[in-house]
């Protein structure tokens, strides 16, 4: 099992994926102009992981900002997680939002309505 990571930049988030622990974290900002290119490696890793997942998969999404271009790619990531959840690994998506950031909470709820995976909305202090 491997641990994969992508270092964050002012426009892209830090991604940590510990396949041995069944833990994925996306943290920071996701506002690239070309988000498909950025998210492709992650979607590929999830595809690979889905063939031999851990019994429990925990996902932390802690984004300060994300643009609409990223929103479709994040949905693609969640669709992969939905398939992994269906395939037997118990997936939980923890959606972090800062106190007062109603837009970020609403964005999480939008995904919750579309994706058939348990979501936990986690409020953090500013």
């Amino acid at each position: 099992m491997e641990k994969i990571s992508i270092e964050g930049t002012p426009k892209t988030p830090t991604i940590t994926f510990d396949t041995g622990k069944g833990f994925l974290e996306i943290k920071g900002r996701s506002i690239p102009e070309n988000s498909i290119e950025f998210y492709k490696p992650l979607v590929d890793w999830l595809e690979k992981y889905s063939t031999k997942p851990q019994s429990i998969t925990n996902v932390n999404i802690q984004l300060e900002y994300f643009n609409t271009s990223s929103s479709k790619c994040i949905l693609d990531v969640f669709k992969k997680l939905e398939a992994i959840n269906k395939g037997g690994s118990q997936v939980t998506i923890n959606w972090y939002y800062e106190e007062d950031d109603e837009d970020m909470l609403e964005a999480g709820e939008d995904y919750q309505a579309i994706i058939n995976v348990p979501f936990k909305m986690v409020q953090v202090a500013e």
């Binding site: 002012p10 426009k11 506002i31 690239p32 102009e33 070309n34 988000s35 498909i36 300060e64 900002y65 643009n67 609409t68 271009s69 990223s70 929103s71 479709k72 790619c73 949905l75 800062e98 007062d100 950031d101 109603e102 837009d103 970020m104 609403e106 939008d110 309505a113 579309i114 500013e126």
Partner: protein
């Protein structure tokens, strides 16, 4: 032609323009502009909630310009690659104004799309966003027609736009977005 720079300055001053740019919109430019605007918002000590809203809407407005210019970049005419944007704050309201050339043949579809968005209530915008997010086609660069819906949703205001005719091929499209606290 002699440019009266004071005239420009005075107009910008009276409209409280914090930042303006005219020219080609590149990814590097947007990175710099967003960094400048973020520190300006910090200096103004805006509430985190307002700061995030302005920043988010600004990202969508500027990336709309970027993706649009990318689409028309195959055109031979250099000047249509150029765009303008201004960010200002009058009292507690932020204004983001963008302008770019658009082919006359594309006006009707864009106008219809914006008018349709303007007909929707807050709740309908939320549903429409989810619909386009889950069913919409994505362009090769990741633009997916969600930008304008997101702007309308986050600002809670109608999209204010205009098309000024330029010649038989092009018009100038402007969008004026207001964010109030």
């Amino acid at each position: 032609m002699m440019l009266n720079i004071y005239d420009f300055y005075d107009k910008m001053e009276r409209n409280n323009i914090m930042l303006s740019f005219k020219g080609d919109i590149t990814s590097e430019l947007l990175t710099s502009v967003l960094q400048i605007m973020e520190s300006k918002l910090d200096n103004l000590q805006e509430e985190p909630k307002i700061k995030k809203k302005v920043y988010n809407v600004l990202v969508e407005c500027l990336q709309n310009l970027y993706h649009h210019l990318d689409e028309v970049s195959t055109d031979q005419d250099e000047k249509i690659r150029s765009a303008i944007f201004m960010i200002g704050k009058i009292e507690s309201q932020y204004n983001i104004i963008t302008g770019n050339y658009i082919k006359n043949s594309s006006i009707e579809a864009l106008k219809k799309r914006l008018e349709d968005i303007n007909l929707l209530s807050k709740e309908e915008l939320k549903e429409y966003y989810k619909l386009v997010l889950s069913n919409g086609e994505m362009s090769s660069k990741g633009g997916g027609g969600l930008g304008m819906i997101d702007i309308a949703r986050k600002t809670g205001q109608k999209l204010n736009f205009n098309f000024s005719p330029v010649d038989d091929k092009y018009s100038f499209f402007s969008l004026n977005i207001k964010i109030s606290q």
